[in-house]
Amino acid sequence: MIALFDDAGFIVGSYVITFGAISFIAWRLIAAGRKLGKQVPDDEKYWT
């Protein structure tokens, strides 16, 4: 396991920023897909 070290804040902070941003964008994408999916007929969705 990772040892205690002085620079932990920078390292953990970098991971938090990266995974936080990715999670936020993924959530926004899913939300947009659901919202627009209700307004567009299924036969216009080439993936269905």
């Binding site: 396991m1 990772i2 040892a3 070290f5 620079d7 932990a8 920078f10 390292i11 902070g13 970098s14 991971y15 920023i17 990266t18 995974f19 941003a21 990715i22 964008i25 993924a26 994408l29 899913i30 947009a32 897909g33 659901r34 627009l36 999916g37 209700k38 307004q39 567009v40 007929p41 299924d42 036969d43 216009e44 969705k45 080439y46 993936w47 269905t48």
Partner: protein
């Protein structure tokens, strides 16, 4: 333009429009991505050793390299899709949407590369930022594709949008070799390529190398998941724009009537 009454619009929407941008395949891909990301965290914080020179800060490499890899990949896909839009007879807007979606993802990942890189720089060099060749060219890449996204938002038809952004998409990718080889062309604080150097010889410990590979695989899966969802969302946005936003207008009328 024909418009739907509020009741017609809501009935039509609820009867035929039920599916989001997700499918079984994207859900499976999402699960695979989450599993790969979990593996990445385990390798980054548990299995891989500290570096002899950089100490614990080497753990930033496992997100720094995959994020710039996804950015490079995104901009190459943008250029290829732009070319396919411009130089094929059909001029399919599907290629334009792929180019735009990929550029959006690329901008996010270049941004993350710059942020994580500056934090790593603070630990290694003692400063968050230097006007160093690699950092400056990467910032230029970021600004260029912000410009590309701004151009996509200019007015006009969908094909006008596609044509002008495709030209920028093809030109922007020319920055990638400059960014990648900036550390060789100019004297740079930034180290030379660890993995993708010219002799293809990875100069790092085996477990560290494997951790980087896990990161690249995890972020590549994430890229595919994101591009699938984003292009589908864009297709729905374009469809609504084409249809004159009948449903949105009907809803606004309904809102106006209820006041």
């Amino acid at each position: 333009m024909t418009t739907l009454e509020p009741t017609e619009a809501s009935t039509a929407a609820s009867s035929v429009a039920s599916r989001s941008s997700g499918t079984k395949a994207t859900r499976a891909l999402g699960i695979a991505t989450a599993v790969a990301m979990t593996w990445l965290l385990l390798f980054a914080f548990v299995f891989s050793p500290a570096d002899a020179n950089q100490g614990e800060s080497v753990r930033l490499m496992y997100i720094h390299l995959p994020t710039i890899w996804v950015a490079y990949l995104s901009f190459v896909v943008t250029a290829v899709a732009s070319g396919l839009y411009l130089f094929t007879k059909k001029h399919s807007l599907g290629w334009d949407r792929l180019a735009g979606a990929s550029a959006e993802i690329g901008v996010v990942f270049v941004g993350l590369t710059l942020v994580v890189g500056s934090l790593w720089g603070r630990l290694t060099w003692g400063v968050f930022w230097q006007w160093d060749a690699r950092l400056t060219t990467t910032a230029l890449l970021f600004v260029t594709y912000i410009g590309y996204l701004a151009v996509r938002r200019l007015g006009g038809s969908q094909h006008q949008r596609a044509k002008r952004s495709a030209v920028i998409g093809l030109l922007g990718v020319l920055l990638l070799p400059l960014v990648h080889w900036s550390v060789r062309i100019w004297r740079s604080l930034h180290q030379e390529a660890t993995i993708l150097d010219t002799d293809l010889d990875a100069d790092i410990d085996g477990l560290m190398f494997f951790s980087v590979v896990v990161g690249v695989v995890a972020f590549s899966l994430l890229y595919v998941w994101m591009i699938l969802h984003r292009t589908r969302v864009m297709a729905m946005e374009d469809h609504l724009e084409d249809r004159g936003l009948d449903i949105a207008l009907a809803e606004r009328r309904a809102e106006g009537a209820s006041r």
